[in-house]
Each structure stands twice: as C-alpha cells, then as structure tokens.
C-alpha cells in the first residue's frame, strides 16, 4: 500500500468518525433520510451487500426494541406515542451502521493503523483468537447438545461455558503468543 492510499484511508476513517457523531446528533427523520440518500449515493459500490449486513445485524434489534417500547407506551398511557422519535432512533442507528460497514469495506484497516503498532498487534491477535475461539465454542456447543438428551438449559450452558473456559483460555494464550511472536519478528 502506498503512502497516498494510507493517507486516504486515514482521512476516510476520520471522516467516518466525525460523520457518525454528526449523525448521532440529528433528530429530524427527514434530515436523516436525506443523509441516508447521500450516503447511499456516495457508497453505491457494494450497496446491496452493505444493506444486507445492516438488515441482518442491526435492523431486527432496533426495530424490535422500538416496536416493543412503542406498544408498551401505548398500553400504559392509553394514547398513541409520537412515531417520529422512534423513526429517528431507528434511522440514526441504521445510518451509523451503514456508514461503518461501507467505510470499513473501503479501507485497509491495518495499514491505516500502522503508526500505532501496539494497537495493530492487539487487534490482529484479538481477531485471530476470536475466529479460533468461535469455531471452538461452536464445537463445544454441539458437543454439549450431543451429550444431553434434552435441549441445553441455562444451567447446562453455564456449566459448559465454565468448563470450557479453562481449556479455551490456555489454548488461546498459546496461539496468541505464536501470533504475537510472528508479528514481532516481522517488525510490529
């Protein structure tokens, strides 16, 4: 990656961070909709994939939470709560998530973080371990399910989680040391 691309990535990350805070200050749904349109035009390349990610990971939680709260307020107060603040709440969350996914798809995060080698190393180790541990956790969950005659209950899950933590931690530390040593030998 050349110097110009690194600078562009850092500028994009800075712009995204400022933009996220700016979006989080807007309360008018019309302004948020306009910002959304501008973002979609700006980040039109790969738009469908980013929208899919937002729909999958952010919309269900935000919309579900807003709907339940709105219905609860309707039930308690006996009159319809204003829809506008709930709409703005959902739009803000989705727009910030959209800008995050769109920007991260365009920047090379690790070269952009090159001036902070400690942070880079920590992030690389953490992400590598998360990937390995998620695979292990999935296997452990399937193992737990296969050993029980019934669906795992809360206590079964906790016992399982407590039990695998020692093994996960030991394995993870060993792997992390390998990754860290490899990175150090490459100048990080």
């Amino acid at each position: 990656m050349d110097w110009t691309a690194e600078r562009r990535d850092r500028a994009l990350l800075g712009g995204w961070l400022t933009g996220a805070f700016a979006i989080s200050a807007i309360t008018d749904p019309r302004v948020l909709a306009a910002v959304g349109l501008v973002l979609m035009v700006t980040f039109r390349r790969g738009l469908a994939a980013v929208l899919r990610r937002v729909l999958r990971s952010v919309v269900p939680v935000t919309v579900g939470l807003s709907l339940v709260s709105w219905a609860w307020l309707l039930l308690v107060s006996g009159r319809r709560p204003e829809v506008q603040p709930f709409l703005a709440l959902g739009l803000r969350t989705c727009l910030i998530a959209f800008s995050t996914f769109a920007v991260l798809a365009r920047v090379q995060l690790f070269p952009a973080l090159a001036p902070w080698p400690t942070l880079t190393r920590l992030l690389v180790i953490t992400l590598a371990q998360i990937h390995a541990l998620r695979l292990l956790a999935t296997e452990s969950r399937l193992g737990l399910r296969s050993r029980l005659l019934h669906e795992p209950r809360a206590l079964d899950v906790v016992r399982g989680a407590g039990g695998i933590t020692g093994a996960l931690f030991t394995l993870s530390t060993r792997n992390a040391r390998d990754v860290s040593d490899a990175m150090r030998s490459r100048g990080f």
Binding site: L73, V76, L89, R92, L109, L122, R159, G162, G166, T170
Partner: protein, 211 residues
C-alpha cells in the same frame, strides 16, 4: 445489554469519551506498557474469551435471550483496569465488525460494562473473599452485572430527560426492562459462570500478565 449507536446524543457520548480516553491510556500504560511483548498475547486472549463468552446466549422467559459479560472474571483474576481495557476492545471489535453496540457509544458502554461493574465486583470480592472465596466470586459477578445494567439504564434515562424527542422511551420503562432480566437471570448465570471458570482457571494455574 450494551447501548447501540444512535440511542445517545453527543451531549453524553463526547463527555464519556473524555472520561474514557485517559483511563484507556492509564490502563494501557500501567498494565501493558513496559512488558507489552509478554502481556499483549494474554490481553488478546482475555479479550477473545470475553468476546466468545458474550456470544453465549441464555434463554429468558418471554421468548428473548440475554448474554453473559465475562469481564467480572477478568477483574477478579487480574485488575479492574485490565477488565476495562479488554472489554473496550471487545466493544470495539463488536462495533466495527459485527454491528453490535457502536463507535459513538463506545466510551459510555466501556465505562458501564468495563469499569463500573468490574470495579464494583472487584470491591465486593475483596470484601467477602475472607469469608468464602466461592461465595465472594459469585456475589462479585452478580453485583458487577447489576451495576453495569443499572448504569446503562440510568444513562438511557438521562438521555430521555435531556430530550424526549431524541430518546422517547422513559426511565420508568427502560429501568425495569433492563433490570428485571438482569436481577433474575443474567446476574445469577454470570455468577455461576464466574464461579466455575475461576475455580477451573485456578486449578489449571493459568498465569496472566506477570507470566
């Protein structure tokens, strides 16, 4: 448990960053400064374990689910500041790559889940460990979750107080909605998890930052 992006205005998120930033710097300098070559892998592992623990969902009556936090364990094993740095990293990774929580609310989530809860748990553990180590571990984790959850609910209540148009859900709704599952389910489960994990890690003699 954590607050998503867009739920809090910059009136709250920027001061939260202003408080968190020096604490991050202090935590990193104090625990990962001089011996970072040795401690970074351990921190990475702790962070990853906390991340994975947070993906373990516990079914809650009513068709929804809640999740473990796992940072009380870090505070008891090492130090609340280590827990704070690790939880902040978990929240950063969740915000950047998984769309959970968010970048604007990172400071406030880190303070609530990574600092207030673990500090409270650590203090409880120090106060009660002389009577029963296991009981103290359970109680510490239980208290840590309650403090974190109450802090999250209070911040959301404060946002509603600052502007109803911004966050339309009143504290009277937010507080019971967050605290009831926490008091009845998450706290108990976190306590049991911490108890099991702590005794296993002690048995396995897993060493940490000073290894």
């Amino acid at each position: 448990m954590h607050i998503p992006d867009g739920f809090l205005s910059p009136q709250i998120t920027i001061p939260a960053y202003a408080i968190s930033a020096p604490l991050w710097a202090w935590g990193v300098r104090r625990h990962f400064g001089h011996s970072s070559a040795e401690s970074l892998p351990v921190v990475g592992s702790l962070t990853a374990v906390a991340f994975v623990i947070q993906t373990i969902m516990i079914p809650v009556p009513g068709g929804t689910s809640t999740h473990l936090v796992g940072v009380a364990l870090l505070a008891l094993l090492y130090h609340p500041l280590v827990a704070f740095v690790c939880e902040s990293l978990v929240l950063l990774v969740q915000a950047l790559f998984f769309g959970a929580g968010g970048i604007t609310v990172l400071g406030i989530n880190a303070l609530a889940m990574g600092l207030l809860g673990p500090v409270a748990g650590w203090l409880v553990y120090r106060a009660f460990a002389r009577f029963s180590e296991k009981g103290a571990a359970f109680l510490a984790a239980y208290v840590a979750v309650q403090i974190s959850t109450a802090a999250i609910a209070l911040v959301l209540g404060l946002q509603h107080r600052l502007s109803e148009k911004y966050f339309p859900i009143p504290f009277a709704v937010t507080f019971p909605a967050t605290m009831v599952p926490s008091l009845t389910m998450t706290g108990v489960v976190e306590g049991l998890y911490t108890l099991f994990a702590l005794s296993l890690l002690r048995k396995a003699r897993v060493r940490g930052l000073d290894s």
